[in-house]
């Protein structure tokens, strides 16, 4: 079972197969919990959200469409959105973006997951820490923690226009790197 593709495990999860459900949870629990912890910065809350994410995945396994992305991306999005919901109630002060950046840039997934992620994750990770620090902070607060530009401005103590510019410029720079990566691979 441990050798089955992610999509097969997800199908089994939705079908109520006990052995596959165990394998699915074991395969993705570190990722799901890590995403929740990154957004929330609180272990107890992260555990609650991670648990909800598995439950949501289990309920909605039949809606997954492999043509539109990987199971990992699907599950990551579920978890992130649930975590952002939870921040609105439980954690009005966002996580420290420097700490999050450090965790992202120092991240080391297991060999299997790294191979699946391929070079694109490495390129994006590199591009992220190539950004000027203030832009990287802004785009992480918006893109991962889910803050609006106005909330980024408040968190960073900067004018709204500056926050918007930092987010926009960061995304354009990440875009430029990834377009280049795509062309190089073509």
């Amino acid at each position: 079972v441990d050798q089955l593709p992610d999509e097969t495990l997800l199908s089994g999860l939705g079908g109520g197969d006990e052995e596959i459900t165990v394998a699915f949870v074991r395969r993705f629990q570190r990722k799901v919990y890590g995403v929740a912890l990154s957004v929330l910065g609180d272990r107890a809350l992260a555990e609650d959200v991670a648990q909800q994410a598995f439950e949501r995945a289990w309920h909605n396994a039949h809606t997954f469409d492999p043509r539109r992305g990987t199971v990992n991306a699907w599950l990551t999005t579920i978890t992130r959105n649930l975590a952002i919901d939870a921040t609105r109630v439980h954690r009005p002060i966002p996580v420290d973006p420097d700490e999050l950046l450090l965790r992202i840039t120092a991240s080391s997934e297991g060999p299997e997951r790294s191979a699946l992620a391929g070079e694109s994750a490495t390129e994006l990770r590199a591009a992220l820490y190539l950004l000027p620090r203030e832009q990287a902070r802004a785009v992480v607060l918006a893109g991962i923690v889910g803050l609006s530009a106005s909330q980024v401005a408040d968190a960073e103590g900067i004018p709204l226009g500056t926050a918007k510019t930092r987010i926009r410029t960061a995304m354009q720079r990440l875009r430029a790197v990834l377009v280049s990566e795509q062309v190089d691979h073509d």
């Binding site: 990154s38 396994a61 039949h62 539109r68 190539l130 893109g143 875009r175 990834l178 377009v179």
Partner: protein, 261 residues
């Protein structure tokens, strides 16, 4: 509703892709995107970046007993295929809405034994919900291109003169970092060193085709790690690479670009 144009999209597209625009602006930008193929393509690209960004979040070891608790919850809840039919998302086959819906505590599918976090209904601005907001025609286009948000698509080719170039920063012992040059009206260069060069201040130089080197700045490395970014100054000769130079003037790492600027 204000009619937005391509300039407005350029200003707000990144926030739209990141899912952080408020409802009014989001609706206005989407109304423009629906009728503008160029901005739609750009939104696809930005959304792809936004999704990849979230995927970068690192894994972490959950608390002891987490796996057991999750399995107990799933086991107690019964077959998913039955429960799922009554849940949000199930009514949208092909337009999956992963997460972001009402919290578990607000659903009929609440599970006995689950520690429920009260969750408020998310503001309708998640990028996963862009799909639901787009018209059927737009949706057909974006899905037809191979995916939306959590999918992957080929970037537009564009002009090579405006595309960024990445190059590995190498020493005799191998790769130690990466250099990115983004051409255009205001070209800039970024350099990241990941390991192998210790603690020191290094000069960053651009190498021109005639082998001349132009120092454009310096940055500090701490435990082999450091990154730096700066505008690229105008040069009379095409730039073919970059290099790092130590305090004694020795070149300690080089990068060669696949094309000159």
């Amino acid at each position: 509703m204000t009619d937005m144009n391509c300039e407005d999209f350029e200003r707000l597209g990144a926030e739209l892709a990141l899912g952080t625009l408020d409802g009014r602006e989001r609706a206005e930008v989407l109304a423009h995107v629906e009728h503008c193929p160029n901005c739609r393509q750009e939104l696809l690209l930005l959304s792809d970046i936004a999704d990849r960004l979230v995927e970068l979040t690192p894994s972490a070891e959950p608390p002891v007993g987490f796996e057991t608790r999750v399995l107990a919850v799933l086991s107690a809840a019964g077959p998913a295929s039955v429960m799922g039919a009554a849940l949000p998302g199930a009514a949208l086959p092909g337009v999956a809405e992963p997460g972001g819906g009402p919290g578990v505590g607000g659903q009929g599918g609440a599970v006995p034994g689950l520690r429920v976090v009260p969750v408020v209904r998310a503001v309708e601005r998640r990028r996963t919900r862009l799909v639901v907001s787009l018209s059927a025609a737009v949706l057909a286009v974006v899905l037809g291109l191979g995916g939306w948000l959590v999918g992957r698509q080929t970037a537009p080719s564009g002009s090579p003169a405006t595309q960024a170039v990445t190059a590995s920063l190498v020493t005799g012992a191998g790769r130690v970092g990466q250099v990115v040059v983004v051409p255009g009206e205001f070209p800039w260069i970024s350099m990241a060193v990941e390991a192998g060069l210790g603690n020191q201040t290094v000069l960053c130089q651009l190498v021109e085709r005639d082998s001349a080197a132009v120092t454009i700045g310096s940055f500090k490395l701490a435990n082999g790690y450091g990154y730096w970014s700066a505008p690229v100054p105008a040069s009379a000769s095409p730039i073919i690479g970059a290099r790092l130079v130590d305090a004694t003037g020795h070149t300690i790492a080089t990068a060669t670009f696949s094309r000159s600027f």
